[in-house]
């Protein structure tokens, strides 16, 4: 049995590999960074560590319906990254063998981000492929954002 962290984006329920997740929190003190694409709204400081944020609603092309906002902090090739989602449900268990590939036309999501789909009760949960979500290029971009913020702080301190 596999485990995934279930969350909501608009009207869609999505899953995330539990081993990638670090913690869930309400975003606070988000600082905007200039010259960044739409889906990177800014950077957040958690316990002295700079974590860039990715707005998943923009990134996956899901229509935003922000009721309450949550940030899922995940480990990635670019270090810790915060994913902005609408709501986090909790941990869900599923059979890895029942994970099916998504059909050609699947909701409003971009198909290549999905590892597969599985059914829980009436709902269908789309499990995200973390490696696809962050390309190496974007990882670089995030690193740059983190450095920019760090430099700024360093300058301020000096």
């Amino acid at each position: 049995m596999e485990q995934s962290l279930a969350f909501r984006l608009g009207q869609t329920t999505l899953g995330l590999d539990i081993n990638a997740a670090v913690e869930v929190m309400t975003p606070f003190g988000v600082k905007a960074i200039p010259n960044m694409p739409d889906y990177i709204p800014g950077i957040m400081k958690i316990r002295g560590e700079l974590v860039p944020l990715i707005d998943m609603r923009v990134r996956l092309g899901v229509e935003p319906r922000p009721t309450k906002e949550r940030a899922i902090i995940v480990r990635s090739i670019a270090g810790k990254v915060g994913l902005l989602v609408d709501e986090v449900f909790g941990i869900m268990k599923f059979d890895a063998g029942k994970l099916r590939k998504p059909p050609v036309i699947f909701l409003g999501l971009k198909r290549r981000y999905l590892a597969g789909l599985y059914g829980v009760d009436d709902d269908v949960i789309a499990v995200l492929d973390m490696n696809e979500i962050l390309s190496s290029e974007e990882a670089l971009l995030l690193e740059k954002a983190r450095k920019k913020k760090g430099k700024k702080k360093g300058k301020k301190a000096s």
């Binding site: 485990q3 962290l5 539990i18 997740a21 913690e23 309400t26 909790g90 941990i91």
Partner: protein, 678 residues
């Protein structure tokens, strides 16, 4: 006629143009040809001679050796060979002594020609035969110009023929071009022109190409149209003039007849005027006589009238005196009667006054009593208003202010309640945050538990419990929030209702104030009316006293009037007696006056009548004289009219003649116009 005209035009332009061009060509070609002929002729002659000379030189160069050797046969052979040349007629070789050594002849026939165009038919070239300085004889070569003439013939005849052919082609081209572009349009135009000249203006000028031709065609069309319009106008004008002159002529004839008639009637008028003049003279004479007789009549009548007038004036003065005394007496009677009547009237009115004074007294008394009553009522009202109304209103006002206070207090309480619920809401939001945080914590705990694997299993149970707790708390918080917001809504409704109530209470107290004010106004009014009625009471009392005085004096007047009435009766009777007697005297005087007046009037009217007659006679005389003068003038004028009539007649005859000539002229013009078809 038209077709021949077209041909003529075509020939005249296209052909003559072509002919002129050919003529110019020939004129230019002739001298050129002649010059060419003569120069070429000389050149050919020289060329022939040179050729013959060449042959002679060839023979002479070999002939010396042959003659020196005595080899005459070889010489002959050579000569024969050379003589084969077609231009050479004969070759003769002579020795030093001029003796013919040998000769050769070609087969060409010898011919003579005298034409100057030809190169001389026969000619001879000579050369001496010599070897070194030694002479052996002479060579004589005679040649013919036939060959050159043939060449000349071809040279001079072929180029002109070729040129003539080219000329013909050019001429044809020019002729065709000229005919097509100029001759044909001009032919058409000239044909149309001919038709126009013959009087047919209905001809249509076709559209044409080419600048000049087009301009000509357009111009011609415009002219024809204009001319046609003008001819049409002239035609109609001519017919109009014809008609008019015809009408004029006939009316002139009528006028002439009328004038003739007038003339005869003027004669008649003159005659009758003469008669009337004579009779007028007679009337004038007899009126003058009548006038004389009338004048005498008038003077005698005037005397009678004067004496009559004197009588009338005396009579009138007598009558006037009687009339005056009568009028005085009758005036007296009238006055007495009227005095009497007045006394009677005074009596009646005194009685009436007495009665109405009584009535007034009665009504004044009524007024007095009712004034007293109303004074009492007003006092009552005042007391009532003062004691009940004002006190009640005061109570109402205090009640109202109490209500206002109470309502304000309850609004305060409700407001505080609202604030309390706000506080509750704030607490709820804090609770919600706590719940959210707990939820997050539980999720994070479960993540950690999962990642810890087997060791974290117990921890995961705790995390699950935490999650459930947070969910439940969340649900309760939501419920409480709902209830609180409902309470808040209700409170705001209550506040609105109370505010509305407050407004009503304020309005009510305002109304009560108004009532209080009205009450005091009523009080004042009641007081005033009580005062007024009292005043009325007082004045009616004094009125009654005054009226009693009036009543007394009326009774006094009444007694005095009765006495006066008696005295007046007596006076009236005596005056009536006098009047009766004077009336009789007046009647007699009047009759007398009437008679005298009538007589006088009769005389006056006779005199007037005679005067009027006289005046009329004078007027008749004057008017007869004037009429005579007028008639004399009229007679002379009639004479003048007669003379004028004769003149007019002769003038009219002249005009009539002119008209008939004009008609003839116009007729001719019309016939001329008729020639043009339009």
């Amino acid at each position: 006629m038209a077709s021949s005209g077209r041909r003529v035009t075509k020939n005249s332009i296209a052909v003559s143009f072509t002919l002129i061009i050919i003529f110019i060509f020939i004129i230019c070609q002739g001298p050129l040809w002649l010059w060419f002929l003569f120069t070429q002729k000389d050149k050919f002659g020289e060329m022939l001679h040179e050729r013959a000379q060449m042959s002679a030189r060839m023979i002479s160069s070999v002939a010396g050796d042959y003659i020196g050797d005595g080899n005459i046969a070889s010489l002959k052979k050579t000569i024969d060979k050379i003589a084969e040349d077609e231009i050479i007629l004969s070759i003769k070789v002579f020795d030093m002594n001029g003796v013919l050594v040998t000769s050769a002849f070609s087969r060409v026939e010898e011919r003579d020609s005298a034409s100057p165009l030809y190169i001389s038919w026969r000619n001879t070239a000579r050369d001496r035969i010599s070897v070194g300085t030694k002479e052996f004889g002479m060579v004589e070569v005679s040649y013919s110009g036939a060959k050159a003439n043939n060449a000349m013939f071809w040279l001079l005849s072929i180029p002109p023929i070729a040129q003539a052919f080219v000329f013909a082609l050019i001429t044809l081209a020019i002729f065709w071009f000229t005919y097509l572009r100029v001759g044909k349009p001009i032919g058409i135009l000239s044909e149309r022109l001919e038709r126009i000249t013959s009087g047919d203006l209905t001809v249509e000028i076709p559209e044409m190409d080419g600048k000049e031709i087009e301009a000509i065609a357009d111009g011609l069309r415009y002219l024809v149209q204009r001319f046609s319009a003008t001819v049409r106008r002239m035609h109609s004008l001519a017919s109009n003039v014809m008609e008019t002159t015809g009408g004029l002529s006939s009316s002139f004839k009528n006028s002439m007849e009328m004038v003739k008639k007038q003339s005869t009637s003027t004669d008649e008028i003159a005659l009758s005027l003469k008669g009337s003049l004579e009779s007028q003279k007679k009337i004038s004479d007899s009126t003058e006589q009548l006038s004389g007789i009338s004048g005498e009549n008038v003077s005698s009548l005037m005397e009678v009238k004067a004496s009559e007038d004197e009588i009338v004036t005396h009579m009138a003065s007598l009558y006037d005196a009687t009339e005056k005394s009568y009028t005085i007496v009758s005036d007296m009677v009238d006055t007495t009667t009227s005095v009497n009547e007045n006394v009677q009237r005074v009596l009646a009115s005194v009685e009436n006054t007495s009665a109405s004074v009584e009535e007034i007294i009665a009504s004044v008394k009524e007024v007095e009593s009712s004034a007293r009553e109303s004074s009492r009522i007003a006092n009552d009202v005042r007391e009532q208003a003062a004691h009940n109304g004002v006190v009640t209103v005061g109570k109402a006002i205090t009640g109202m202010s109490e209500i206002t206070d109470k309502v304000t207090y309850s609004v305060d309480i409700v407001g505080r309640l609202g604030k309390r619920s706000d506080d509750v809401q704030r607490i709820l939001s804090v609770m919600k945050e706590v719940t959210d945080q707990t939820n997050l914590l539980s999720i994070n705990a479960s993540i950690l538990a999962e990642q810890a694997g087997e060791h974290g299993k117990g921890f995961s149970v705790v995390a699950e419990e935490m999650r459930e707790l947070s969910e439940k708390t969340g649900a309760y918080t939501k419920d409480i929030a709902g209830i609180i917001s409902m309470i808040k809504r209700e409170i705001s409704d209550v506040v609105i209702a109370i505010t509305e109530g407050m407004r009503f209470v304020e309005e009510g107290s305002l109304l009560v104030y108004d009532v209080g004010e009205t009450m005091s106004a009523i009080l004042e009014a009641a007081h005033e009316s009580a005062n007024m009625t009292k005043m009325i009471e007082r004045s009616t009392e004094s009125q009654v006293i005054a009226l009693r005085h009036v009543e007394d004096s009326v009774i006094e007047v009444n007694t005095m009037s009765l006495e006066m009435n008696k005295v007046m009766d007596k006076l009236f009777r005596s005056t009536e007696f006098i009047l009766l007697h004077i009336g009789e005297v007046k009647e007699v005087a009047e009759t007398t006056k009437q008679g005298i007046f009538e007589q006088s009037e009769g005389v006056k009217s006779i005199a007037q009548n005679i005067e009027i007659t006289n005046e009329r006679v004078a007027v008749i005389n004057e008017s007869a004289t004037r009429q005579r003068r007028l008639e004399e003038g009229l007679f002379s004028e009639v004479e003048e009219i007669r003379n004028a009539g004769v003149w007019i007649l002769s003038d009219m005859e002249r005009v009539s003649n002119t008209f008939s000539r004009l008609r003839e002229d116009v007729d001719v013009l019309k016939r001329e116009m008729g020639m043009f078809k339009v």
